[in-house]
């Protein structure tokens, strides 16, 4: 659970109060430039606030080592990089970075299936489309199996049907495994369908937060 009190970040964010519930699906909505990405980066200490306090499971982020935190609260950025090499390389690199034990091919295929990527593990990533790369990056994050996911518009490069399918998969997975899922989405429909909790932002402020 994240708990935010009087957090400011430069002149970009100014949030008095925000609670993100545990083991729930939270969607963050708001127009472009309203500070959604910046907020996610605060949650896993990619940046630190200029004032106020953020708690994760009752512990102040100031007292949690950034790398330890990022291995529990994994973020998928809006435009994640794909590394040179094969699909397998790209899936495993997350586990290597996080210093976790590597996964067998069965597991990797299971992940590819989850993100609707019908490809071989040895295929090169060079010629993949934007949407395929986005799904691969999502698979890489799912494979890490963290306590909490921060997904920043994970389906922006996908068509509406695929988007719906994939978000549904992630949501099912999160619920089945008791994960906390925080997802920025431009799709009002996705938020209405899947969210347990909706946070709406405008101009760097939270203008509403509510259970659905």
């Amino acid at each position: 659970m994240f708990f935010i009190k009087n957090v400011r970040y430069k002149s970009i964010l100014d949030i008095e109060n925000l609670i993100i519930p545990d083991h729930k699906i939270t969607c963050i909505v708001g127009e472009s430039g309203s500070g959604k990405t910046t907020l996610l980066k605060l949650f896993n200490k990619m940046i630190s606030s200029d004032g106020g306090e953020i708690l994760y499971n009752e512990q102040s982020l100031a007292n949690i080592n950034a790398i330890t935190l990022r291995r529990k609260v994994v973020m998928l950025s809006q435009n994640p990089s794909i590394f040179k090499g094969s699909i397998r390389d790209n899936l495993l690199i997350g586990l290597k970075f996080a210093e976790k034990s590597l996964a067998a091919d069965d597991k990797l295929y299971e992940i590819l299936k989850m993100v609707h990527l019908n490809k071989g593990l040895d295929e090169d990533t060079e010629n993949m489309s934007g949407g395929e790369k986005q799904r691969l990056a999502l698979g890489r994050v799912l494979l890490l199996d963290p306590e909490c996911f921060l997904l920043d518009e994970p389906s922006s490069a996908l068509d509406e049907d695929t988007e719906h399918l994939i978000i549904e998969k992630i949501v099912q997975y999160s619920k089945a495994n008791n994960k906390t899922l925080i997802m920025v989405t431009h799709s009002k429909k996705a938020a209405d369908t899947f969210a347990d909790y909706i946070v709406e932002m405008r101009n760097g402020r939270v203008i509403s937060q509510r259970e659905v």
């Binding site: 896993n44 200490k45 990619m46 940046i47 630190s48 950034a66 790398i67 990022r70 291995r71 994994v74 973020m75 998928l76 950025s77 435009n79 994640p80 990089s81 590394f83 690199i93 997350g94 290597k96 970075f97 996080a98 210093e99 990056a137 890489r140 994050v141 890490l144």
Partner: protein, 262 residues
């Protein structure tokens, strides 16, 4: 081969015909470089003449204090030169790391070379110490300049890749490994490549100088091989120190990327 031809003044002057030729070419073609050509010719001449007299003086009265002083001046000059030569803006932390890597990298390889490879006695004999130091420091300077440029450019160009890695839980070191390795590789590559053509495509300056001034080519070659290896070591040591410490200046204590303001 028995008598070295000492150049007369008029012979030296004749060599400047090459500069006139270059000036003629750039003027005819309207390339705006005359000022730089004249200034650099002038500086080269004055600096070498002064250095010549200083070396004569130092060689006549070997003194450890003066030898160390000369090395120190070389180090300071080369560090200043690197900082000036690199176009990218450098944070003060990065400048300190450049200085540290240059000093530690070159003195370590210099001492090894002087004390173990050549085994000079006394150790501070300026006839050996100064020219060898010049070559090791000069090449390390070129190497590290390349390394600095490549590291900074790489950090900016690969920023998204580094961020992606950090978000997956990577340590700063793991997230920057491609950039750091790339910078190291491009900084040592010219030195490695220069060994390939050695003796076939060109005779290196030091060896040419020795042969012209009467040393047996075999001795000149022995020294050349040793000094090439010394240069390789000095470049490698300096650059690895620099890149290994340098990438850290792009992170704060919370493992967050921080870029010096552009």
């Amino acid at each position: 081969m028995d008598k070295v031809v000492d150049l007369q003044i008029w012979q030296m002057a004749a060599a400047y015909v090459f500069v006139l030729l270059l000036l003629f070419i750039v003027r005819r073609r309207g390339i705006n470089r005359e000022k730089e050509i004249i200034i650099s010719t002038f500086r080269m001449t004055i600096q070498l003449i002064l250095t010549g007299y200083i070396l004569v003086y130092l060689f006549e009265k070997p003194n450890p204090f003066f030898t160390i002083l000369v090395i120190l001046i070389m180090e300071i000059f080369s560090i200043y030169n690197i900082i000036k030569r690199v176009k990218e803006k450098l944070s003060s932390r990065l400048k300190k790391i450049i200085a540290f890597s240059m000093i530690i990298g070159t003195t370590t390889s210099l001492l090894f070379f002087i004390l173990i490879v050549v085994n000079v006695s006394p150790w501070y004999d300026p006839r050996y110490f100064i020219p060898i130091a010049g070559m090791l420091i000069g090449n390390a300077m070129t190497g590290i300049s390349l390394g600095v440029t490549k590291l900074i450019d790489g950090m900016y160009a690969q920023r998204n890749l580094i961020e992606t890695s950090l978000m997956l839980g990577a340590t700063p070191e793991a997230s920057c490994k491609p950039v750091v390795d790339g910078a190291f590789d491009s900084a040592i590559l010219p030195t490695i490549n220069s060994m390939v053509g050695m003796g076939i495509v060109f005779l290196p300056g030091m060896m040419t100088g020795q042969i012209l001034s009467g040393t047996s080519p075999v001795t000149a070659i022995e020294y050349q091989i040793a000094i090439m290896l010394g240069i390789l070591g000095s470049v490698a040591l300096t650059v690895i120190l620099f890149v290994q410490l340098g990438y850290k200046t792009f992170f704060n204590s919370e493992s967050q990327l921080v870029f010096a303001d552009k």
